[in-house]
């Protein structure tokens, strides 16, 4: 499979009367997006706004982030199985509006938080303060069931990314990234001496606001499955997850999965990167045993020497992470885990509730209880009431100057467990 991502660098963003891209400036006509999304009868209204790095703007509550792209060669434009007809992904040429992002807001329930601050202290903690954000706020018609509400907002975000992505269709790119990999046998023949490496990507798969989709299939219903890394980079995996702000994997992060990209960078040099196993994080213990056994079995069948396992979420998925680790290490496969931890406000608590001695190599993406101070925003995109939710967590979290304290767990992508951001934890 060969996938070319032609990166068109977005360095500025404006609202205007037409959709266009010129010299780095992406201009958005809100009406084009609104008209496109209003075709869905479940959508009542759409608001489009922009937020640029450095703006004193707060976006809350973020539902998903999606990268605007268009496929110019090969099959599978859009998100096959979800917004477009089923097609094979992973090959062809994609024009990417690199540096731009669709950020959707749509509170299905009142307790969603998910904050992105575009400036100052808050900006450091989220990877989406450095993207030029097209913020799409979606309201649905009255009386919609929660499941349909979530689906409507999820699909509206993907469609918005397609509409904006169209702007890139005839633009020449500055930079081309090529992701090419033959079959496992071809690659192993090419690199017979390199250790064989797999990436296990765990997905929250537990129901409303806690779902992930692969070609439109709810990951709750699958056995762990092998997927070519290019398919995920080409849009095969979609987020349906509205909680776990700090450590959910947004659609944007699937499209740009940092673990996949960093493994690709070493492919043919230090490792033979063989592929990705998508593993659902289920609710029942029996389900967890089945997926963990099955994941370990896939790794063994493929002859892996080493595996990176990334988690999504916090709480019951910690059990899956450590069970997979134990099974692999017990069969002689070396693992590295990526997770986040809760070591309390002062960092003095035991970081993981569940532990296993086999987890000897772990990357910590940060302490979810770490408290940060967010100054008051000049402009709020989304629901100001969500700020009250964010700020209502404890006594005294709003300071006299209007700034507020918030835990990292409310900040989108702060402790990304696919290793998308650059936080870590050190012992002092």
């Amino acid at each position: 499979m060969k996938l070319e991502l032609r990166k068109i660098k977005v360095t500025d963003l404006a609202l205007g009367n037409e959709m266009k891209f010129e010299n780095g400036l992406l201009t958005i006509d809100p009406q084009v997006i609104i008209d496109g999304l209003m075709e869905d009868v479940n959508v009542k209204s759409v608001k489009v706004d922009i937020a640029k790095p450095g703006d004193k703007t707060r976006i809350i509550p973020v539902k998903d982030v999606i990268e605007p792209r268009v496929k110019v060669e090969g099959s599978g434009n859009g998100f096959p199985g979800v917004t477009t007809k089923m097609e094979q992904l992973g090959s062809g040429v994609v024009n990417v509006l690199s540096g731009a992002a669709i950020v959707t807001i749509g509170d299905i329930v009142g307790f969603q938080e998910g904050v992105v601050d575009m400036w100052g202290e808050g900006a450091k903690w989220t990877p989406f303060s450095t993207t030029y954000n097209i913020v799409v706020d979606i309201s649905v018609v009255d009386g919609l069931q929660p499941h349909d509400h979530e689906t409507t907002v999820r699909i509206a975000g993907l469609r918005a990314a397609e509409i904006v992505g169209e702007v890139a269709r005839n633009i020449t790119s500055d930079e081309v990234e090529v992701y090419e990999m033959g079959s496992i046998f071809e690659e192993t023949n090419k690199y017979p001496d390199l250790p064989k490496v797999l990436y296990v990507e765990m997905l929250i798969s537990q129901g409303l606001l806690h779902d992930g989709y692969i070609y439109g299939v709810n990951s709750q219903k699958i056995l762990p499955t092998l997927i070519h890394p290019n398919e995920e980079l080409d849009g095969a995996v979609i987020s349906g997850n509205c909680v776990a702000a700090c450590d959910k994997i947004t659609t944007y992060q699937h499209q740009n999965n940092s673990s996949i990209i960093d493994l690709y960078n070493r492919h043919g040099k230090d490792i033979n990167f063989m592929g990705v196993i998508l593993t659902p994080e289920l609710t029942t213990l029996e389900g967890k045993f089945r997926t963990c056994d099955y994941t370990a079995k896939l790794c063994k069948s493929l002859g892996a020497d080493g595996v990176i396992i990334s988690e999504e979420g916090y709480g019951n998925p910690d059990s899956d992470l450590l069970m997979i680790c134990k099974r692999l290490e017990d069969s002689g496969i070396k693992t590295v885990l990526i997770t986040d931890e809760c070591s309390g406000w002062d960092g003095m608590s035991q970081p993981l509730a569940d532990t296993t001695k086999e987890a000897v190599a772990v990357v910590s993406a940060g302490n979810v209880s770490h408290v940060v101070n967010l100054p008051p925003a000049e402009k709020v995109l989304g629901n100001p009431e969500a700020i009250a939710t964010l700020a209502g967590g404890w006594e005294g979290c709003i300071n006299d100057d209007g700034s507020m304290k918030c835990e990292l767990n409310a900040v989108i992508g702060s402790t990304s467990e696919i290793g998308y951001h650059n936080l870590t934890v050190k012992l002092y």
Partner: protein, 347 residues
């Protein structure tokens, strides 16, 4: 304005005397004594050692409450910006005194404390979370290397500068896991770590799993009817009056008492354990250490005999280091006495 430092030393470094003076009560001298002299020179004029507190090691460990009361009054009177204690090197009692002073000053007055200890000094675990404990060598010969490190950290704390990583600054980690920015994103660190593992190179996990000390169970006793059984508890059961002054928490010692001629602990014993409601244990101490049942077993021939000494300490807050020491010491005695098995009770 220069900062004020209060220095704490024991009778030896306070130039009062050796072991024979270990019982002296704390005294406050409004001058620099012993290591305080050299320490002040290392502060480069940024701070001044205004007073030295001296206390005998035995006095501190045996009269901790009184000692701390004097010390807290003295610290309040001097009102220093920081308290520096030791270094205690590998001296156990001196270390415990430095730790006791450090924890109390930090908790009660909120004044930072810097001290120095050898890594195996059991007092390290006692106070490293609250004080900055500089890692020093095991004997006073290391004074010359210890003081500059302590002085450098003291200056940083006085100037409200953030301390660097423990391994860079030379102090024991306090156990705080702080979120910081890394040079590389998480996935890149993960890939590097995996490549290092696959090449058999050294790598460092960012989240060490807690290590539990697992003890293999001993082989089963072949004939219980002939076995000599000892009774041990960490439930703080001691003879009334606590003759050996075993601490009610964070035990520094254990005790052993002859139980040959009694059938129950009731009446003569009570608990000094500070970690549970003592009412039911005091009413009937065998509820914690079941001597009554063992004696009955002995009479009925269910077991061979009960070892004549009963061993006891307090488990609550007691450091792992001390527990290991106690275990080794008690185990040695039992082995020499030909004990076949022991019943250990906790709370």
């Amino acid at each position: 304005m220069t900062y004020k430092v209060l220095y704490y030393v024991n009778q030896f470094f306070g130039q009062i005397g050796g072991e024979e003076k270990a019982d002296i009560k704390p005294i406050l001298k409004m001058e620099k004594v012993g290591p305080a002299l050299g320490f002040e020179q290392l502060l480069g004029g940024e701070a001044e050692v205004v007073a030295t507190l001296i206390c005998g090691d035995n006095y501190f460990n045996e009269h901790e409450e009184e000692a701390l009361k004097f010390i807290i009054d003295a610290v309040s009177e001097v009102n220093p910006d920081i308290v520096v204690a030791g270094p205690a090197f590998n001296a156990g009692r001196y270390g415990m005194a430095c730790a006791g002073v450090a924890n109390y000053v930090v908790d009660e007055l909120g004044i930072p404390v810097v001290t120095g200890m050898y890594k195996e000094n059991p007092a390290v675990d006692h106070c490293k979370a609250k004080a900055i404990v500089v890692e020093v060598s095991d004997s006073a010969a290391g004074m010359r290397n210890a003081l500059p490190v302590m002085a450098k950290i003291t200056k940083k704390l006085l100037n409200k500068e953030e301390l660097g990583l423990p391994q860079d600054e030379g102090y024991f980690p306090q156990g705080k896991r702080l979120t910081v920015f890394a040079d590389e994103r998480g996935s890149e660190r993960a890939v590097k770590m995996l490549v290092a593992r696959l090449k058999g190179e050294a790598f460092e996990t960012e989240l060490p799993m807690p290590v539990f000390d697992k003890v293999e169970p001993a082989a089963a006793i072949k004939d219980i009817k002939k076995a000599k059984i000892a009774l041990i508890t960490s439930g703080g059961i001691v003879p009334k009056g606590n003759p050996d002054r075993i601490q009610s928490a964070s035990a520094q010692k254990w005790g052993k008492y002859n139980i040959k001629d009694i059938d129950s602990l009731k009446g003569g014993y009570y608990t000094i354990h500070g970690g549970y409601d003592p009412v039911y244990a005091n009413e009937f101490p065998d509820r914690v250490a079941p001597l009554d049942v063992l004696k009955k077993y002995e009479k009925d021939g269910e077991i061979g005999e009960i070892y004549q000494y009963f061993y006891t300490t307090t488990g609550t807050g007691t450091s792992v280091g001390n527990s290991i020491t106690f275990g080794v010491e008690i185990g040695k005695e039992l082995k020499e006495a030909g004990v076949d098995g022991a019943i250990l009770t906790s709370t």
